[in-house]
Amino acid sequence: MAKKIKIKIKVNGKKIQLNKKTSINSLLNKLKIPIKMVAIELNKKILDKSKISKIYIKENDHIEIVHFIGGG
């Protein structure tokens, strides 16, 4: 059986490996991040959350996932 092809990406500054053809939506599910409470940036471009199940992650992509925390 052929080994699944892995890609290397960065999420919030951390290097992680993913299977090829992973969507942003499945990445968030995998990380157990509630989509309602976050915003996502792919290579510095803000993503429309309603479309993230159709956006696939590519090698060397930089993803930022942010939320609200306490602040002044």
Partner: protein, 255 residues
């Protein structure tokens, strides 16, 4: 009490509180509740993708019950501030935001040139922008002309607790503008908050003075009462100041 109105929306309190520097979210949520604030400022930061067991702010302060005011605290360029607020808008559709572009890491004073540039861009993009600024009447006027929804002049540097250091400028800003003025940064105690309201400001934003007080819950209550007292005092019209004394009792009938 007459309500605070920002962009046609009415708020039940003139006190806005920050949610930073508390020991934990429980303490923060309790202080916010006691303060009676209808608006809280929040920061935008990376989700911790390693440790997901950490609690979330939204679990403690329901954004459906209290207005979240996303803030660009910690941004030193227009680019960073714009990126932060565009992300904040994407989280839950927030349009009312607080812009803060700092210019100096030691004093944490705002960079007014970058602040004005950012305000113009955000207003064009449909944001309602409450703008942290210096206590400079001319800069405040420029912000108003740029389409700011509220002007947020500092009392003194962020977290300094020095109170209002230039009350003359604040008075000039008050006389020059029709949009809401919220005193932001530098408030040290409830007396400072009452002074801001007595000067005719529309509201006060407090974070450190409550969060770092020895008794945060008691200070949260003191701030609530001070803002109410200051507003009522302002609306009632204070007496004129005179150098000499004026008797409070009638002279007639003295024995």
């Amino acid at each position: 009490m007459d309500k605070l109105i920002i962009e046609k929306k009415k708020y039940n309190s003139r006190l806005i509180v920050g949610t930073g520097k508390y020991k934990n979210f429980e303490e923060c949520a309790k202080a916010v509740k006691i303060s009676g604030a209808a608006i809280v400022t929040v920061a935008v930061r990376r989700v911790n993708i390693v440790d997901k067991s950490k609690p979330l702010l939204m679990d403690y302060l329901n954004p459906k019950k209290i207005t979240y005011l996303p803030n660009t605290a910690g941004c030193f360029t227009s680019e960073e501030a714009l990126r932060t607020l565009r992300l904040a808008r994407e989280i839950g559709g927030w349009k009312l935001v607080k812009l803060e572009v700092l210019g100096d890491k030691k004093s944490l004073l705002p960079d007014m040139i970058e602040t004005i540039k950012s305000t113009e861009v955000l207003v064009k993009e449909g944001f309602k922008v409450m703008v942290y600024c210096n206590d400079d009447p001319l800069m405040a006027k420029r912000l108003e002309n740029s389409g700011a929804s509220a002007i947020m002049p500092l009392a003194s540097p962020i977290g300094s607790g020095l109170g209002i250091v230039n009350n003359i400028n604040i008075k000039i800003i008050r006389n020059n503008t029709k949009i809401p003025i919220i005193i932001d940064a530098g408030i040290g105690d409830a007396v400072d908050a009452a002074e801001a309201m007595q000067l005719g400001c529309d509201g006060v934003l407090v974070n450190t003075a409550i969060a770092n007080a020895k008794k945060p819950f008691l200070m949260a209550e003191a701030m609530k009462l001070a803002v109410i007292a200051g507003r009522k005092s302002y609306l009632s019209g204070r007496i004129k100041k005179t150098i000499m004394g004026k008797p409070s009792s009638p002279k007639k009938g003295i024995i």
